[in-house]
């Protein structure tokens, strides 16, 4: 038996999401990524003596949005707290966060487990806080440089229960969180730029054990894939230690992407005592039931709901539905498309095929896609009614529609792509095909029914591909079977 089968992996994730507010959490400084260092820094961001924070109401709205979307309980009276520690990129010497009164408690994120089944990961809490600045160690050979543009950028921290049982589940969880914040448009979910960050608390224990093992916190994983790799490494490392009879140290480790390993940063015994206390410079924020209802009403459709709709109402496979809900724009496009056509499967195929490949190849955002759902629905109707073959629709009509605002019908007609379904014209092609191969007609009549393909091919050739294959097949059989 593989040793790893002896152990159960226990993971809890803390996800920090930078909120897409125009201004910072406690000042009117612009919240923007990539600006010239230290240009989005008023005296408030700099923490100059005498300055005071002012809470940005959008931060509360965004946190409530997320809370409602995950089914969390929203707290009525929200106090801010100070988390005190010294760091060069923390200008006030404390971070304004929430301690005992997080804005959201509970809630769940649904993920796929290792067998592809749905699993609920419970959330402990979501709270609001401000980001620190950035210390840049690799630009100057002798000095650490500090950029305070990020200082005061609003964050929500989403803390999960230790419900995650594998690196793969963690990977799925982060993807779900990212999908959700993108759907809600509260965070761009970009892990490479640090707008979504994740710390993992990882431990292992013998299967069936009741007590948790000693947990290790891993930081600095700047992609979903790195989260997975870091956990895989950490699990192996911890199991190997236990197998060697050694103990796991309660520590914080950093992921090293260069060799997919983790290295020790600091031991928990050396950890800060953050000396939390209620922030006296901010009034507690009261969130009324009324406000929560208003946010709830304004909530966009969520991936979970759309997945349900696509599989139940539109009868799509889980696989197709998953691909379609992955990106909000695509999902909403497909949803609108399905208001214009009832051939959901064909609509799904068009979106997953022609539409997505066009968007990918040209790096176009769905928002800028020129074929609106109504026009694409016309094309689906054309195919559906047999006027245009599927092949012509995807290879020619779709491409032509990208370059024109004309209806699919008009384009197909103008280009002579409408299928030959006029039975008299077809009869003439069939007559010619039969006349051409009298001996094959005999063989067919003697039982070699497969020869119908030969006649079909001939008719197609004569009609330059426009013969409606269904109708053609039917008429051929009628004549040959006589």
């Amino acid at each position: 038996m593989n040793v790893s089968n002896k152990y159960e992996v226990v993971i809890g994730l803390e996800v920090h999401a930078q909120l897409l507010t125009k201004t910072k959490a406690y000042s009117s400084d612009e919240n923007i990524y990539g600006a010239t260092p230290n240009t989005k820094t008023s005296v408030i961001t700099l923490g100059h003596p005498g300055t005071l924070p002012k809470a940005n109401k959008k931060v509360i709205e965004y946190a409530v949005k997320l809370g409602v979307a995950v089914g969390a309980k929203i707290r009525e009276r929200n106090e801010y707290a100070r988390k005190n520690y010294f760091y060069a990129d923390l200008p006030k010497g404390y971070q304004i966060t929430q301690d005992k009164t997080p804005i959201c408690s509970g809630g769940t994120i649904e993920i796929k487990d290792d067998n592809g089944k749905m699993k609920e990961i419970k959330l402990t809490r979501i709270h609001m806080e401000e980001d620190a600045g950035k210390s840049i160690h690799d630009l100057d050979p002798f000095n650490t440089l500090i950029d305070l543009n990020r200082a005061g950028v609003p964050l929500v921290e989403v803390v999960s229960e230790p419900d995650i049982r594998s690196a793969n589940q963690a990977y799925n969880y982060i993807n779900e969180v990212r999908k959700l914040v993108r759907y809600l448009e509260i965070c761009d979910g970009n892990m490479e730029e640090g707008s979504l960050r994740c710390d993992a608390n990882i431990s292992v224990r013998l299967k069936g054990a009741k007590e948790f093992g000693t947990k290790v916190e891993v930081k600095n994983m700047n992609s979903t894939r790195n989260v997975k790799k870091a956990i895989e490494f950490e699990v192996k490392r911890q199991i190997a230690l236990l197998e060697n009879g050694e103990k796991i140290k309660h520590e914080t480790r950093s992921f090293n992407a260069a060799n997919n390993s983790t290295i020790s940063m600091r031991h928990k015994e050396e950890a800060n005592d953050y000396r939390y206390f209620p922030e006296p410079d901010l009034q507690p924020v009261i969130i009324t039931q009324n406000y929560i209802e208003k946010v709830k009403k304004a909530l966009p459709p969520l991936p979970k709901e759309l997945f349900q709709k696509f599989t139940k109402e539109f009868d799509l496979s889980d696989y197709d539905a998953n691909i379609l809900v992955d990106e909000k724009g695509i999902a909403l496009y497909f949803n609108s498309l399905c208001n214009c056509t009832k051939n959901y499967k064909m609509a799904a195929n068009f979106v997953m095929g022609s539409v997505k490949s066009y968007l990918n190849e040209t790096a176009t955002d769905i928002a800028d896609f020129t074929i609106l759902p109504e026009r694409l629905a016309q094309l689906i109707t054309l195919v559906d009614s047999g006027k245009v073959s599927n092949t012509l629709a995807t290879s020619k009509v779709f491409a032509a529609m990208l370059k024109s605002n004309d209806s699919a019908d008009k384009i197909a007609t103008k280009n002579n792509w409408i299928q030959e379904s006029d039975s008299s014209a077809l009869s003439e092609f069939i007559r010619q095909a039969i006349v051409k191969y009298p001996e094959k007609v005999e063989e067919y009549k003697n039982g070699k029914k497969g020869l119908i393909g030969l006649f079909m091919g001939e008719v197609m050739k004569l009609s330059k591909g426009k013969a409606d294959p269904k109708l053609c097949n039917q008429m051929l059989r009628e004549i040959l079977d006589k």
Binding site: L46, P49, T51, K54, N84, G93, R275, Y276
Partner: protein, 474 residues
């Protein structure tokens, strides 16, 4: 010789052509120079004040001057003024110039007050003698061997010695009222959240309040009218409408006044102060007011509660002074860690260090509940009790200080003795109520002492009106 002791007398004199803003500024600058030994000012904005005086004289001539035209005012060294130094009397802010002005400063300037300089104080407003300062102790103008009290010692000294008409101080545990009591001026702490703290270098955020030190109650009312009220930059400021404090000074209705026997029985209270305040109570009764004994059971908890919470907040508020971003950085630092430790060890004075350590301790894991949380609960009890009493009474009357100004140099012996200086003043800060110290009497030792009146939250108008009449009637 300038004998104007109120803005109205100055305005009348300017109108009558007897003086100008320029004359006033030149007089004050000369008087500051003559009283240099008082050490009231950390810096005098000489040229700037002269320039502004000329401009305001022109405005007065044009008839478009602001409400405070003619007021020459000083600001405590912990109130930020754009492009001016602001150091809270600390080495750690050596060389620091503020990039912005405090809301109160902007409001004063908008009404054409002339800011003549920044005033000596205790470092980060921590002290009761104005001896914890990089500028050296401020001296009491009535007796140069005595302290001014603190922490707004320079602010009280400057008004008492007529170095300017009025000053702005800050009051966290009595820092306006106690030096006002020691120097014989009026010291007024408005309700917590009545005046914006934006630009006030924080000591203890849930206590700090800016207020005026003046010669007359009327001037205190005029200043409050200008500086009070909503501010976009301080979300803890009350949105409650401000009153026309100056119009309401004429109210002469009879009042219900409470006094706490526990305060009068306190063993630290000077016997002569006690008997004087008692005779004031008798006079009030004779004048038709109802003055009654009301028990206040928490006297012994006031100072400990105050010191636990205020130092906790201070330990966090002062974390930003780390030598990384601005102000003083130790030249002995050779690593990130030593930048913090050496800068803070060399940059902060002893008393500030003591309070940072005390505050850090009461918030630390394992002690948080026993000290900080408990003190918060105590504070709530004190608040509730105070406001319950003030449901039945308009004011609470007490001495401002247990004794008159003490000798310079006593400070460093026992910090606890010094902390007990605040025993009568901290109540108003713990509860957030407005309170004023009025110079109603003089001790046989020659030094003044204040009578303190505390009112319901946001009842500054009542408090000022009653004080105004009291001063005129006693």
């Amino acid at each position: 010789m300038n004998t104007y002791r109120s803005l109205n007398s100055i305005k009348n004199a300017i109108k009558a052509g007897e003086t100008t803003c320029l004359n006033l500024v030149e007089f004050y600058i000369q008087n500051i120079e003559n009283n240099k030994t008082l050490n009231a000012f950390a810096e005098v904005f000489t040229e700037e004040a002269i320039k502004n005086a000329k401009e305001i004289d022109a405005k007065i001539a044009n008839g478009n001057a602001g409400k405070l035209a003619g007021m020459v005012i000083g600001i405590k060294d912990n109130i930020c003024y754009k492009n001016h130094k602001s150091a809270a009397a600390s080495k750690i802010l050596e060389g620091f110039e503020s990039l912005y002005s405090a809301t109160v400063v902007e409001r004063l300037l908008d009404e054409d007050a002339i800011i003549i300089g920044r005033l000596n104080c205790d470092e980060f407003a921590m002290g009761s003698a104005n001896e914890n300062t990089i500028y050296g102790a401020t001296k009491n103008p009535l007796d140069n061997t005595k302290v001014t009290g603190g922490s707004s010692g320079g602010a009280a000294s400057a008004v008492a010695a007529n170095l300017c008409l009025a000053t702005l101080g800050s009051d966290t545990g009595g820092s306006i009222r106690q030096p006002a009591s020691f120097c014989g001026t009026i010291g007024f702490k408005p309700t917590y959240s009545r005046v914006s703290r934006f630009g006030l270098i924080a000591f203890a955020s849930s206590f700090d309040q800016i207020g005026p030190i003046t010669n007359t109650v009327e001037d205190a009312a005029i200043i409050l009218e200008i500086i009070a009220g909503e501010d976009d930059f301080d979300s803890t400021v009350s949105t409650k409408k401000t009153d026309k404090y100056t119009y309401l000074l004429e109210d002469k209705s009879t009042k219900r006044i409470a006094y706490f026997p526990e305060f009068f029985e306190n063993e630290g209270l000077d016997g002569e102060i006690k008997s004087t305040i008692e005779s004031q109570i008798q006079t009030l009764k004779n004048n038709g007011h109802i003055v009654e004994r009301v028990s206040f059971p928490y006297l012994n908890y006031l100072v400990p509660t105050y010191y636990v919470i205020s130092t906790a907040e201070a330990s966090s508020n002062l974390a930003r002074f780390d030598g990384v971003h601005y102000g003083f950085r130790s030249s002995n630092a050779n690593s990130p860690e030593s930048t913090y430790t050496k800068t803070r060890t060399e940059g902060f004075g002893k008393e500030v260090q003591r309070r940072i350590m005390l505050g850090t301790f009461v918030l630390s894991a394992g002690y948080h509940d026993a000290y900080y949380t408990k003190a918060q609960k105590m504070r709530r009890l004190i608040q509730d009790k105070t406001n319950k009493i003030l449901k039945d009474y308009d004011f609470i009357l007490s001495p401002t200080t247990p004794h008159t100004a003490f000798n310079l140099g006593l400070e460093h012996k026992d910090p606890i003795v010094m902390y007990l200086e605040d025993i009568f003043t901290v109540l108003a800060n713990l509860s957030g109520n407005p309170a004023i110290s009025l110079p109603l009497a003089r001790h046989s030792n020659g030094m003044p002492f204040g009578t303190q009146l505390m009112a319901k939250p946001f009842h500054e108008a009542d408090l000022l009106a009653f004080s105004h009449n009291l001063i005129n009637s006693l």
